[in-house]
């Protein structure tokens, strides 16, 4: 499926997750966040950076890991990305939908 976000033609899945992180840039992230009702701040970007780093090093993401990252804690993670933080943050970070149950 193709979708144009911030003037870029992107390949996304049915739910709008980017399929190739190389197509991502900050404007794309900002636009996806806006669609999700999130106005990005420096703190949001720090979390997105961490999530992208984890993804690039092939390390599976869990809420527990984000909580221990030193970038944020679980409570803050939920308030930054309400209603499904791991999914929303992954979508904004331009990575595939997380498959983790925890």
């Amino acid at each position: 499926m193709e979708k144009t976000i911030a003037g870029v033609n992107l390949i996304v899945d049915d739910e709008g997750y980017l399929q190739d992180i190389n197509q991502w840039n900050k404007e794309v992230g900002t636009e996806i966040a806006r669609e999700e009702g999130i106005e990005m701040t420096d703190k949001h970007w720090q979390v997105i950076d961490y999530i992208q780093d984890q993804f690039k090093s092939d390390s599976p993401l869990t809420i527990r890991k984000v909580g221990k990252s030193g970038v944020t804690d679980i409570k803050e993670f939920y308030s930054l990305f309400p209603e499904g933080p791991l999914k929303k943050a992954s979508k904004i970070a331009g990575i595939k939908k997380p498959v983790s149950c925890i």
């Binding site: 909580g67 679980i74 939920y78 209603e83 499904g84 933080p85 149950c101 925890i102």
Partner: protein, 170 residues
């Protein structure tokens, strides 16, 4: 010959979605406790509200001096695939428990105490059952700090209002 038709999936309207899960934790075997914790945490990860109501033996999972020592049931558990008599031998329960804990750590599933902290930080509301507390002579100070409070069964049902609320018994 009559051909069986595949079962049609019910049409899902947006308001038919699960919005809140209320999970009753009635047992304190490690597998039951983890099942309820993972369901509650998984709900929050999907933006679904979650509450846990600890009753009867389930109270051990939130009792400060018990929660780190929960174990897997090796007797009366056919999924262990060992004869019941063997399951009752000394050390079997400890062995099965340590095996399970090892496997869970590999999957980044936290130990019970840390999991409770994660649930609280994720916005899961946790309640203790008044009647069960009286039965086991427990006071609120015996239970974890993150506990929201103590409820009667009636109080708990009264919280379960609203469309899309589901009750589960584990």
């Amino acid at each position: 010959m009559e051909v069986l038709q595949p079962v049609k999936e019910p049409k899902a309207s947006t308001d038919a979605k699960v919005k809140r899960v209320m999970i009753i934790v009635s047992k304190a075997t490690l597998d039951n406790v983890y099942a309820s914790f993972i369901l509650a945490n998984g709900a929050r990860m999907e933006g679904i509200e979650a509450e846990l109501f600890f009753t009867f033996f389930g109270l051990e999972a939130i009792t400060k001096d018990k929660l780190k020592h929960l174990s897997v049931a090796t007797v009366g558990n056919p999924a262990m695939h060992i004869p019941t008599m063997l399951g009752g031998l000394p050390g079997m329960e400890a062995f099965a428990t340590s095996m399970m804990k090892k496997e869970m750590e590999k999957l980044d599933i936290p130990p019970v105490d840390e999991f409770l902290e994660i649930l609280a930080a994720s916005g899961v509301k946790m309640w203790a059952c008044r009647l069960a507390m009286d039965m086991f002579h427990l006071k609120q100070e015996d239970l974890i700090e993150d506990l929201e409070g103590v409820l009667t069964v009636g109080d708990f049902y009264n919280r379960a209002h609203g469309e899309g609320t589901h009750l589960m018994f584990i």
